[in-house]
């Protein structure tokens, strides 16, 4: 599993944020367009791309995209 691909997949779930604006250290909950609906898109993406089911606590406990990447990698 590779973080650049994860960032790309993450960016695909966003409508108003360009991939160039996102790095592994981006605090995703601070993104203007982050909402409870985006969270569901991320859970669905991680399930489809990585066959991993994220729980609410996983999203809550992660701050940066790298944090989330590490949670997905550990499952």
């Amino acid at each position: 599993m590779e973080i650049n691909k994860f960032i790309e997949n993450f960016a695909d779930q966003l409508n108003d944020t360009e991939i160039s604006e996102i790095t592994s250290t981006t605090v995703f909950k601070d993104l203007d367009e982050w909402s409870s609906l985006t969270a569901l898109s991320i859970i669905a993406m991680v399930d489809e791309e990585y066959d991993v089911i994220l729980k609410g606590d996983d999203i809550r406990n992660a701050n940066t995209i790298e944090d989330l990447f590490n949670i997905v990698s550990s499952k």
Binding site: S36, L37, I43, G56
Partner: protein, 346 residues
Amino acid sequence: MAYIRFNNCSIVGMSAGVPRHIEPTISTTDQYAVEEYMATTGIIEKRFSNDYTTSDLCLPAAEHLISDLGWNKQDIDGLFFISQTHDYILPATACVLHGKLGLPKSCMSLDISLGCSGWIYGVATAMGMVESGSLRKVLVLAGDARKHANEEPDQLFGYAGTVTAIEYNPHKSAPVMIQLGTDGTGYDAIIRPGGGSRNPLTQKSLTLEKCEDGRMRHALQTRMKGMDVFAFGITIAPKSIKQLSKEFGFDYLDYDYFVFHQANRMMNETIRKKLKLDADKVPYSMTHFGNTSSASIPLTIVTQLAGKLEDRKKIIGCAFGVGLSWGTIAFETDNLVISPLVELPI
């Protein structure tokens, strides 16, 4: 393991009642625009009215279906009412409906308290009594409507009451196959905490408190851990369908229609893709009726599949939600009678 096979039961009819009033989806938060909400949930509008209880919606739908089936009310031996919005704390709403429908005193009446998964549980419970021929004609009434505290329309949920008629039929060719499951550790994932015995009704029950999603609610309003429910649904629904088909040795891809609990579009589409199902095999009613709790599978069949079931059709229904509770049913239609949608006046 709750795998059940019924060889002597047929689903012979379905009907549904909804309020005529249409409530369009609006934005109730600055978190996201209404278009984004509609794209994610799939819900454009829903039926809403605080004039009708669930039993009010079920009653005319039951009258229509009994008439369309040509049933004699004196022959009905069982009435099962599945809902989490009963008319009274007591008595059971099934008894109230029994009286209003004018059913015979020999007819048993039973309430079951389940939400999203409720229709499949109700059908399974009813068929359990019909399978031996002890009961011959029963009605399963399922749905949710007016909440226990007067509320503004929730953007996700629409109101509906449905009726499913089940008959003893020892000569049928195809069995009805069902799987049921529970994860009670998730009991608080969707919960209306106040007004029961755990948190009895007091003046404080109506005090607004901040919920996990940042919204203010009082204890008689339902709150949901959205991310956890989403993760649960996309995991359990494909698993349950695969387990049922493995247990009874059939290929689920041979089925004609997959009628899922109408949770929200993103969740249902994720499930559809995981099972590799063609979009035209997966009807939706949520677009115009919202998430209708235990009514969602029969309401989807009544509103989306009427006219498409003339020949025998193989249907899988799968529902998941509050409890946490889930179920999958596989059955074949055979001259299924579907009454036109009953719309109750504003």
